[in-house]
């Protein structure tokens, strides 16, 4: 039985919805609309005249070899960060779930990274991995690895990937831990009696039962990584060296603000939006059905 609150008139419910609608309109639909508008226009250098150009901006974007490279970089970066963050978060959650003493302290500490702003996270990792003064760079040097992400594109991509992953570990950790704790203990015990060792129990019972959580985190982390990793890239590498870490969202910004190409930048952000919407739809349409038991 579902209990519904009922209102006498229509004024009150709409008034109650207004703040949320206002926020969505102002901070989402307006900018999104603006982006759509700009994506099909070009401006002159002084921003005085705007001309409607149909899909010229998109054509330009897709014929740009750097843009296609950026797509590939984004895919690698997003998938790697997402898997790294979720894998590590799951590992931590499984371990934290077993801790009996001081569990609260562990959990609190593990949640902290999420409170760190992306730009700050970038700076922190930048310090640690700084080729000249960074502790990690020093340690790597000691074991014979030449570390300089200022010149090595692969190293730079690796660095932004782990920096971004680090930030999302906390978030995923909380959800995984909650998911683990909602699995009835007796189910695990029944599996133990049924002759499954700890590893087998994890893969045949715990992991499948966590799949709704995993799915939810996958959607959320991918969307976040697509949009919010701008700060990390901006603080760490500025898209370099030689565009090696130029992910889509960074490119949108750099083409728009540095290159003053508003039309091209807007077209790219529309593409980015479309990718995220498509991903989300695919995930909910096809994956969700398989994960709910």
């Amino acid at each position: 039985m579902i209990k519904r609150a009922t209102f006498g008139g229509v004024a009150l419910p709409y008034a109650l919805l207004l703040p949320q609608i206002a926020i969505t309109l102002i901070f989402f639909f307006w900018p999104a609309g603006e982006a759509l508008f700009q994506a099909v226009h070009v401006q002159d250098a002084l921003g005085l005249k705007t001309r409607f150009v149909w899909f010229e901006n998109f054509e330009r974007v897709f014929s740009d070899g750097y843009y296609l490279a950026s797509l590939r970089i984004t895919a690698v970066f997003t998938l790697a960060s997402c898997l790294l963050a979720m894998g590590f978060a799951l590992l931590l959650a499984v371990m934290a779930d077993r801790v009996i003493r001081g569990a609260g302290a562990y959990k609190t500490l593990l949640i902290w990274p999420y409170a760190v702003a992306p730009a700050l996270a970038g700076v922190l990792w930048g310090f640690m991995f700084n080729p000249t003064i960074g502790v990690v760079a020093h340690a790597l040097d000691a074991v014979g690895i030449k570390w300089n992400y200022y010149v090595d594109g692969d190293q730079a991509l690796f660095l932004v990937t782990i920096a971004a992953a680090w930030k999302y570990v906390s978030y995923s950790f909380i959800f995984f831990l909650a998911g683990l704790q909602s699995i009835p203990r007796s189910v695990i015990e029944a599996a133990a009696i049924d002759g499954a060792g700890p590893t087998k129990r994890f893969w045949t019972i715990v992991f499948p039962l966590l799949s709704p959580t995993t799915f939810f985190l996958l959607v959320l982390n991918l969307v976040h990584l697509f949009f919010e990793s701008f700060g990390i890239v901006h603080a760490l590498t500025q898209g370099g060296p030689g565009r090696a870490t130029e992910i889509l969202v960074f490119r949108v910004w750099s083409d728009g603000y540095r290159g003053q190409d508003y039309g091209g930048s807007a077209a790219q952000s529309v593409v980015l939006m479309a990718i995220v919407i498509a991903l989300t739809v695919i995930q909910f349409r096809y994956v969700e059905r398989k994960v709910h038991y």
């Binding site: 007796s186 189910v187 015990e189 029944a190 133990a192 009696i193 049924d194 002759g195 499954a196």
Partner: protein, 359 residues
């Protein structure tokens, strides 16, 4: 097919709480033993120690004579039915039952044969492709049973398996469990707080209180010769009357309540208990109307339950008693009814220790 022996089994938690204080029990092959007690008495802890889900902090658990204290649950060859059934929600009924067999690397054909046989026995054949959430409570319970029987284990452990079912279904499943256990003749330990379940299922029952076994015996022994005040009060519905009493000189009769209370004959002299503070226990159903009985019950309240009626009142000397009468009997509050009780139904307990005093 196995015996289970508990030798001074103890459980002390890290915070010093003694959950189980040294239980001795020898379960014969094929026997169904019920562990009965109020919540928090340690009965589930004891069962979980036999299962290997709880470490044993003292004493020994032996299955078929072999010490299993340090063995993993899987290595003890037992099967357990949990209160919430603990089915694997993401697996079909078939896979729920097959899981334990697959983990033991049994050949596929044999797994299939066993699962289908168990499903046939339990009436689950039509449901093998369903998932647990598509089943009713009673069906889930049967799947949990099925998961236990396909393993053909040495022993079944039941942890309050009926308490999530509604009252009607509970009675029905209880009979099914009993029938199944008799047919398979698998040694079983069964935990419950429900005395009806305990009395109807048990070959022998262990009445537990605060981590100790108050009495171990057949349902009949526990009912007719309760070993302690706790057992006397816990078994039987309505509960046994327990009143203060004192032995008459010679020890062959006991006086209820104060000096002017009625005296009842005992089934043997209790000379040894002379001078001690006593409690007298009499079951309501053993108080029978008798025109020259020694107990003159001044009825204060009548509860008519249909088949029978409960008469609440007092006898001279102040002792409050409940008597059970036929439902149709014309008793009213304010009347006085003379009652008698057979000497063998008068139970004496030491008020200080709570233990039964026999002749």
């Amino acid at each position: 097919m196995a015996t289970i022996d508990l030798v001074q089994v103890r459980k002390t938690y890290a915070n010093g709480v003694d959950a189980v204080k040294g239980i001795d029990l020898a379960v014969a092959d094929g026997e169904l033993i019920v562990l009965l007690g109020p919540s928090g008495c340690g009965k589930s802890t004891l069962l979980r120690m036999v299962a290997g889900l709880e470490t044993i902090t003292g004493g020994e658990v032996r299955i078929d004579g072999a010490r299993v204290n340090d063995k993993e649950p899987a290595a003890r060859d037992i099967a357990m039915v949990f209160q919430n059934y603990a089915l694997y929600p993401h697996m079909r009924v078939y896979d729920n039952m097959a899981y334990g067999l697959r983990n033991r690397r049994m050949p596929k054909a044999e797994i299939d044969r066993r699962v289908r046989a168990a499903a046939e026995t339990l009436g689950l054949a039509e449901l093998l492709d369903r998932r647990p959430r598509q089943l009713s409570g009673g069906q889930r319970q049967r799947v949990a049973m099925g998961r236990a029987i396909v393993r053909e284990p040495k022993a079944f452990l039941f942890d309050e398996p009926l308490s999530n079912l509604d009252a009607k279904l509970r009675g029905q499943v209880r009979v099914e469990i009993k029938r199944l256990q008799r047919r398979l003749a698998t040694t079983s330990l069964y935990v419950t707080h429900d005395q009806v379940e305990a009395m109807t299922l048990a070959d022998r029952l262990v009445v537990m209180n605060q981590g100790a076994a108050e009495q171990i015996g057949t349902p009949d022994e526990v009912y007719s010769r309760p070993a302690s005040l706790f057992v006397a009060g816990f078994i039987g519905s309505p509960a046994m009357n327990i009143v203060e009493g004192a032995l008459e000189p010679g020890g062959a009769r006991v006086r209820l309540g104060g000096a002017d209370g009625p005296a009842l004959a005992l089934d043997g002299p209790r000379g040894a208990a002379a001078g001690r503070a006593l409690k007298v226990g009499i079951r309501p159903e053993h108080l029978v109307a008798s025109s020259n009985g020694p107990l003159a019950l001044a009825i204060e309240l009548v509860e008519n339950l249909g088949a029978d009626a409960l008469l609440y009142g007092r006898v001279p000397g102040g002792a409050a008693l409940v008597a059970r009468a036929d439902g149709g009997a014309p008793h009213k509050a304010g009347e006085t009814l003379r009652l008698d009780v057979a000497p063998r139904h008068v139970h004496l307990f030491d008020a200080a220790s709570g233990r039964r005093l026999d002749g």
